[in-house]
């Protein structure tokens, strides 16, 4: 796996990890019980995908998935700013979900055609699960597409979604990533080095 491929997998893994954390913030407080379940399940899948991608990169770099996920400082993450935002309004959450799944489908399609069989195989496996995320996003898009608050949220977030498919556009992190990082790594940072999980 060359350095470019490693970087691309790391970007996607970081996107999935951070978005997984953000999605999990709806657990218990989503507007419908079904959506509590849906966003919790989607979050679990995204973090599972992040882990599998980190494992591929970790093996190349002689490290572990946990170290990649939790032992880097916030500025070393390479996620796109759109996944960092704490969006506790439903229309923005659904707008991001829709834009994210749209972009994710495109990059998974490319990864499935990778010449590296491990990358192509993992992308295929991830894509099977993402089918359900896309159906879920589509269902909400169909429901909300004529709602002004939803279309405004789409307009606001669409420019940020472009970075999901273009490393050059990722740019600076938002201040929200540092806050999330504090929370996300708190338990691990409180344990002595070498603790196993």
């Amino acid at each position: 796996m060359n350095a470019r491929e490693q970087q691309l997998l790391l970007e996607i893994a970081d996107d999935e990890l951070i978005l997984g954390w953000r999605d999990s913030e709806w657990t218990g407080i989503a507007p419908l019980l079904e959506e509590d379940v849906a966003f919790s399940s989607i979050a679990q899948n995204e973090i599972g995908h992040a882990r599998a991608l980190y494992e591929l990169v970790a093996r190349e770099r002689g490290t572990t998935a946990d170290e990649l996920a939790f032992d880097r400082s916030p500025e070393d993450y390479c996620c796109a700013p759109i996944v960092e935002l704490r969006l506790l309004d439903w229309e923005k959450t659904i707008a991001r979900h829709y834009l994210y799944e749209e972009a994710d489908a495109k990059r998974l399609d490319q990864l499935k055609r990778s010449e590296d069989p491990e990358i192509a195989g993992l992308a295929g496996k991830i894509d099977r699960e993402e089918t359900y995320h896309r159906l879920h996003a589509q269902m909400w898009f169909d429901r909300l597409q004529d709602e002004p608050r939803f279309t405004a949220a789409l307009d606001e977030l669409r420019p940020l979604a472009a970075a999901l498919l273009d490393s050059e556009l990722r740019g600076e992190h938002t201040s929200e990533l540092a806050e999330l990082w504090e929370e996300m790594t708190m338990v691990r940072r409180s344990q002595p080095a070498g603790t196993t999980w």
């Binding site: 079904e34 399940s41 995908h49 491990e118 099977r128 159906l135």
Partner: protein, 178 residues
């Protein structure tokens, strides 16, 4: 147990402590940690078993990548192999080889009997559109009616959706097709 006696006899006879067949039999007794009515072999997650010089190499694929049962499955397999007197080497393969079509026919029956609708075959295209998920293709595991509706694409674990049977008025869990 009979299986253990066989193991002892074979160990005395040949180079390998166990045979591949014994390993498959042992793995067929390990329940899925989250759906214990089916075994790991029923689920089709064991891709290959190879025995060589007292060491047993297992290749297995997780069902869903975020499934927390992964480590439990891996450790349970290693423990069973050690109990048979061999050294386990359990490899987790993260490729695209597992789909719900790998769940065995016996696995389907066990799921259905426990009120858990087995996955529709991938060839039915049931994973691809909301129209299909809303069509009358899914059978209630309790009464057999196809008058069922999708309640939620997601359920209590990554592998399940929730449906409702309009005939017997019973909600049920549907294994997602992936």
């Amino acid at each position: 147990m009979g299986g253990d006696d066989d193991g002892a006899t074979l160990a005395a006879r040949g180079d390998d402590v166990v045979t591949e067949e014994q390993i498959w039999d042992a793995l067929a007794e390990i329940p899925d940690p989250e759906i214990p009515v089916v075994s790991l072999v029923d689920l089709g997650v064991v891709r290959d078993v190879a025995v060589e010089n007292g060491s047993v190499r297992i290749e297995f694929t997780p069902t869903f990548l975020g499934c927390p049962a992964l480590e439990v499955m891996r450790d349970a397999m290693a423990e069973r192999i050690r109990a048979l007197g061999a050294e386990p080497d359990v490899q987790v393969v993260l490729d695209d080889s597992w789909s719900t079509d790998k769940i065995t026919r016996a696995g389907h029956e066990k799921l259905r009997a426990s009120g858990f609708a087995p996955p529709a075959p991938r060839s039915a295209g049931t994973a691809t559109s909301l129209v299909q998920l809303n069509a009358a293709l899914f059978r209630c595991p309790y009464c057999g009616s196809t008058e069922t509706t999708l309640e939620n694409l997601f359920g209590p674990t990554p592998c399940r959706s929730l449906r409702y049977c309009n005939a017997c008025r019973q909600p049920f869990e549907q294994f997602k097709t992936i």
